[in-house]
């Protein structure tokens, strides 16, 4: 039994931690969030230079041959810093899909650019009627000679405004909720109409309309299974990010309640406050255990891996609510302000809760 990460992974962790400490104080982050693009090109280039964009790609593709554990390490630290650069959309979602694509020509043409950060991808899977079901797709891809013609609407696509390409799920056949007949296609973002807007956690998202968009047949990346695998990775990565947020929240609350005095005592003297924080800590530790378990199972391609990832996202959602709400509560009025970091972590957790299936959704999947 060994829960230690390798020496290389420790170095990675330290390097991401250092990056976050040096570049991500709240004021700097606020500037990024308020800027037109919503993140920093410099940070993005730095991430490429440090090799983080290459981590999860095979060595034969120019990457470092890492796995979900490496991604977990990066995302957890990003969660601690509330990093806004589009690593999740580009590398976890876009990169994760492209590296597994059987369309080798497309894959070899894109991966080098993804690794340098010049090609920026995102995934457009959600639709208004689908809620969290990946297989509920009404966007159509009609075959027309050596092209497909796409029509439909995609919702809450992360970082689409700054993406060079968008991976879209669309129906080439089958009924609205059939897994068969779903294709993933690569579209130049210039071919899409987008309504771009900020999200409550300081991120960016878009509503995309596809109006007779013509896509060459050689731009088909894969089928539903590829989408499902990407969603599995997404759940692991988002959960790692959430864990980073929760750690900051419970630790800041423990610190704050020792500093803040009311009734001639630090708040931390009150037993109900102590027990609440013990509960926050326990939830955090339980999430960490399940994150490790789900991540290892994914790396080993265990038969239970998907089911465990449902358990994980459920627990993460529940604990994120508990820890987030109580961090605000125990900070009192201060917790309600934009000025303190607490609220920003809380808002990021709220969004993670709804990304790739919310707490109820994953419980239902787990119990099914």
């Amino acid at each position: 039994m060994n829960f230690d990460i390798s020496e290389e992974q420790q170095l990675l962790q330290q390097s991401v931690e250092r990056f976050v400490n040096e570049n991500y104080d709240l004021a700097t982050r606020r500037k990024l969030v308020d800027s037109p693009q919503g993140y920093s090109d410099d940070n993005w280039s730095q991430m490429a230079e440090l090799g983080w964009l290459a981590l999860s790609f095979d060595e034969s593709d120019g990457g470092f041959g890492g796995n979900q554990i490496d991604t977990m390490i990066v995302m957890e630290q990003f969660g601690r810093g509330l990093v806004v650069e589009p690593y999740f959309a580009n590398i976890v979602l876009g990169g994760g899909i492209m590296k597994r694509s059987s369309n080798l020509e497309l894959k070899t043409s894109l991966l080098p650019g993804i690794i340098t950060g010049d090609v920026r991808l995102t995934l457009a899977h959600a639709e208004e009627q689908s809620r969290f079901d990946l297989d509920d797709v009404v966007t159509t891809a009609r075959e027309d000679g050596d092209h497909y013609v796409l029509n439909g609407k995609k919702s809450m696509v992360p970082n689409a405004a700054t993406a060079t390409h968008v991976i879209v799920s669309a129906r080439t056949g089958g009924g609205q909720q059939d897994k068969d007949g779903i294709a993933l296609l690569l579209i130049d973002s210039g071919d899409l109409d987008g309504n771009h807007f900020p999200t409550v956690d300081g991120g960016r998202a878009s509503e995309l309309s596809l109006d007779n968009v013509r896509v060459p047949a050689e731009r088909i990346i894969g089928d539903f299974n590829l989408l499902a695998t990407a969603a599995h990775d997404a759940v692991l990565a988002l959960s790692a990010e959430a864990l980073g947020c929760m750690e900051v929240l419970y630790k800041s609350t423990v610190d704050y309640t020792q500093e803040r005095e009311q009734f001639d005592h630090p708040l931390s003297d009150f037993q109900v406050v102590q027990h609440r924080m013990v509960d926050m800590f326990m939830e955090y530790e339980q999430c960490k255990s399940l994150l490790y378990r789900a991540t290892l199972e994914a790396v080993q391609d265990a038969p239970t891996a998907v089911r465990t990832s449902h358990a994980l996202k459920h627990l993460i959602g529940k604990s994120a609510s508990f820890i987030g709400e109580n961090a605000v509560q125990l900070h009192g009025g201060m917790g309600m302000t934009e000025e303190l970091a607490i609220g920003h972590y809380f808002k990021r957790l709220l969004v993670i809760e709804s990304q790739f299936g919310n707490t109820d959704y994953h419980l239902t999947q787990f119990a099914a």
Partner: protein
């Protein structure tokens, strides 16, 4: 025990409905004109502009049932904007502890909504432990005025207020509940500086208020010097029962059901989802109970008894229910709840997230829940702490 409405109650309800219908803002009407007209017409009904005020100060003298009917009927009506600070908080203090001159001077403007008030209690160092407040008020040698210096924080609507009712410290030699003095301070003057505080939903409603050597005439002191804590405590009780918002939650839950029905999942709706449905049902059950808790407390108050144990749990249960409804609204909004400041996807998602974030304060202001429970443990259960 009797819970059915009497024929007179039904008549009253119809009268309320007719009144609210007649006085809804007409499309295109000037808002502030309509607002003023509304309160005039409500006053002409015999105190309907100040339903909670006692008869001797112009209130309608309703029975608990009539109050209940009014609350129910008014949640769904679009009444003009009104703040609780003057009408609901300061007015009862003036009535109980103000001088005749003060009542004549301040009450009419409060009633006619001519003047906006804000509540200057909390300070950076005095939140839950309000009695440790430090804003200093020093009486002049000739006894004509106080000079006030200090900082108030979280002051809701201070940026729109004409006056603040303010707790100040006039004596710090004894126990901290003593030596607190209740002063009324005009806001629009030198020495008062209001700085906005932006809260989680991006809204500006609370402020920091710096008070620097502001002179306040002794005529603006309520009651005796050093007795402000006693006056304020009575008022906090008023504030708390008003914060439960049970009728509003009943309506909010109905809205939530409708919203969830508009969210499709394949060929069904979110209301068909067993997990979501059970959470809605649990809320409904709690509301069935707490609605009667509120009625029991109204009845106790009407019979002249002290507000019983029922009233102490109203704020706690009421705010907990509000927050659960807000949370479920965010859940119903799904991925769209993350969109910020733009209408995307489900129509209710935008205000749902704002409501949820802002609503986190409901268990903090007016006595944080943990502190409320301390009060119940001590005053209702009679428990002591070592």
């Amino acid at each position: 025990m009797e819970i059915d409405l009497s024929p007179e109650d039904f008549e009253f309800r119809q009268e309320v409905r007719d009144f609210l219908k007649e006085n809804t803002a007409k499309p295109g009407a000037d808002y502030s004109q309509w607002r003023m007209d509304y309160f005039k017409k409500a006053a002409a009904k015999g105190g309907w502009d100040v339903p909670k005020w006692p008869v001797e100060f112009g209130g309608p003298g309703w029975s608990p049932t009539q109050h209940y009917i009014w609350d129910q009927e008014t949640v769904t009506a679009s009444l003009p904007w009104d703040m609780p600070f003057g009408i609901g908080m300061l007015a009862p203090i003036l009535m109980n502890y103000g001088s005749k001159e003060q009542i004549d001077r301040f009450l009419p403007d409060i009633r006619e909504r001519n003047v906006n008030w804000c509540q200057g209690y909390s300070e950076p160092g005095a939140g839950s432990d309000l009695a440790s407040l430090k804003t200093k008020a020093v009486l002049s040698d000739d006894g004509t005025h106080y000079t006030v210096t200090g900082t108030k924080v979280w002051t809701t609507m201070a940026h729109m207020a004409d006056w603040m009712f303010c707790l100040t410290r006039t004596d710090d030699t004894g126990i901290k509940q003593e030596g607190i003095t209740f002063l009324l301070i005009p806001m629009k003057q030198d020495g008062i500086e209001v700085t906005p505080i932006i809260t989680l939903g991006g809204a500006h409603s609370v402020n920091m208020v710096h008070i620097t050597e502001v002179k306040v005439p002794v005529e603006n002191r309520i009651g005796e010097e050093g007795k402000g804590w006693t006056y304020a405590k009575g008022l906090l009780q008023h504030e708390r029962t008003g914060l439960a918002g049970i009728s509003r939650s009943i309506v909010a839950l109905e809205n939530l059901k409708r919203q969830a029905q508009s969210v499709t999942r394949g060929n069904r709706t979110l209301m068909d989802d067993p997990a979501f449905r059970s959470k809605v049902a649990e809320l409904e059950i709690d509301l069935l109970a707490v609605e009667f808790t509120e009625l029991r407390s109204l009845a106790a108050a009407a019979s002249g008894d002290d507000p019983g144990p029922e009233s102490s749990i109203l704020k706690l249960k009421g705010t907990e229910i509000q927050q659960r409804i807000q949370k479920l609204t965010v859940e119903a909004g799904g991925i769209y709840s993350a969109a910020w400041g733009v209408p995307v996807g489900h129509k209710f998602a935008r205000s749902g997230m704002q409501g949820y974030l802002g609503g986190r304060a409901n268990t903090i202001y007016g006595g944080a829940s943990e502190v409320q429970k301390d009060v119940i443990a001590k005053n209702v259960l009679g428990l002591k702490r070592s």
